[in-house]
Symmetry: C2
Subunit: 325 residues, 2 copies
């Protein structure tokens, strides 16, 4: 009550800027939000926590932290083929700093507006900087994409390019603006996820690394996969900045790209590329689903080797893995 | 991948114990959960973060932390008159300690089972101990209780007794088991919230203190209220442990009781007490809604004084306020 930067002021700042939608019957300002689901749809819910020094470098701009906190969650909805609708925001801050909050909201709400996502509630607490976002979206009954639908013989596809965020992190101050943006301002592939609902057999977003996440797909689908290094899409910046060994390691193992890795029957290939074109995203066929479990990588030398899913993960490394959603 | 306590082991432990419901189409294990809403109902969503040393004393048993993390969220659903259904759990832990996690889940899942709440997803990350829970429930279209419905002339009611959690905190090691349980294992008043849907005009849960939370009701309803200290329900333990001045301060200002404070037309008084009896909770009339804004307290001396809403809040104190939901 006493200062200009106390928590009620923070809440008032958030509430003023939160935006709304017709299906938000009650947003910020009560014990809970009241939301109206469209008939014939299922609710899709995902949540992720971002901690300073773990999920973003300490020098990350507050507006980029805000963008990324929402982006990584929307990316999960994209992987399900869901239409985003609402989110909540739990902010733990070391101090009530309205300047920091305003900048954070600049990035967060810029991305929210792009996808018509209403911020309907949350919580502010004091402690080491930590951000939890929970997102809610819809899919028509039974239409959601899952990790578990990959079939033997399906093509393995990836959107965009992979390894860029890892390159942005490795190069840090020396990164090109594009590579740093791949790390700080990932693009959730919402339109692609929607376009793939009728075409893909399984889908996941690449948060922990291509092999790690494809590993989740083949495990959930009780199949295996071979990925061909020669087919992996690569950005010009990544090509310029690293030798082949480093590049391939980043493409296969680097996290934080938030591209969609998905599978589809070969007969669907033309539909897949047409759907991706409508969504404004390039997609590339990078491998094949096989009956033999596990992951194999065909190297630049043409030799196929067993692969370790080698992404960021758990408490063995300074990174987490969302255990869903 | 290497240790017995890495994150995938934590996730596997959580997933094995999470339980489910028929309306959970997809729970833990994909990019998001898929949930089926009942027809004719609205979705009610609330979220709260608990940080060590702020929302619970550092010596709190892990099972009690688990209980409380869910209880404070279910209490928000109770205040809306919602039926709980699903929750997500974001756990930030200093280390991957499966013993701690098992004990935490003991308390969390014990309360979840009592209210048929399925744990459908979440996230585990590394950092200072922090827990975010997001709960989802249903209400029939338009039936939710809100803070904003209090009418001039309504009675002000409170469930149970107030000040006990504050007493448990103040007495710490000297607290009776009951007072310490009020602090560590609050009871979300779900059945009462449901029973009040047809009878109450406004409702809130007492997390920040009776006056602070009643202050939110009168502000949202554009009215005021007078509370009579002589009418405040009190536990025998609180009566025994403190003098009158301390007791009254705890009853009016102490947080963490998670009772429901609600308003109802005087003509509804018999219905309210009957509904509370069905819900197995004692409710007490403690004041009246008035046209004059602000809060007033009638003291034991019969003198009415203007009151400061004096609960825990913001960054002025080591406590937060949920800014909703």
């Amino acid at each position: 009550m006493s200062g200009a930067n106390n928590e009620f002021d923070l809440i008032a700042r958030i509430r003023t800027r939160a935006g709304t939608r017709d299906d938000v019957l009650l947003g910020i300002g009560d014990d809970a939000a009241i939301l109206r689901m469209p008939a014939g749809h299922d609710l899709v819910v995902s949540t992720d926590t971002l901690n300073i020094g773990v999920h973003f470098p300490p020098d990350t701009a507050p507006s980029d932290i805000g963008w990324k906190a929402l982006a990584v969650n929307l990316s999960d909805l994209a992987a399900m083929g869901a239409t985003p609708a609402w989110c909540t925001l739990n902010l733990t801050l070391p101090e009530a700093n309205s300047g920091w909050l305003d900048a954070f909201l600049d990035g967060f709400l810029e991305l929210a507006a792009l996808h018509d996502v209403a911020l309907v509630g949350g919580d502010t607490t004091r402690g080491p900087l930590s951000i939890t976002v929970t997102v809610h979206g819809f899919v028509p009954h039974g239409a959601a994409l899952r990790r578990s639908g990959a079939q033997v013989g399906d093509d393995v596809w990836i959107s965009g390019t992979v390894g860029d965020a890892a390159a942005g992190l490795a190069l840090h101050g020396q990164a090109t603006r594009n590579l740093r943006e791949r790390l700080d301002r990932p693009t959730p592939r919402i339109a692609l996820g929607l376009a793939l609902r009728d075409n893909a057999s399984a889908c996941i977003d690449v948060s922990d690394g291509l092999l790690a996440d494809l590993g989740h797909v083949v495990l959930a689908s009780h199949v295996g996969a071979e990925v061909d290094v020669a087919l992996l899409p690569i950005s010009g910046e990544l090509l310029d900045a690293f030798d082949a060994t480093s590049r391939i390691a980043m493409q296969l193992g680097g996290g934080d790209d938030y591209e969609l890795c998905f599978t589809a029957a070969p007969a669907r290939a033309a539909d897949v590329t047409a759907a991706a074109k409508r969504a404004g995203v390039v997609v590339t066929r990078i491998g094949r689903i096989e009956a033999q479990t596990g992951l194999r990588v065909r190297g630049a030398d043409g030799v196929v080797r067993e692969a370790q899913a080698n992404g960021y993960r758990h408490f063995d490394t300074p990174r987490d893995e969302a255990w869903q959603p």
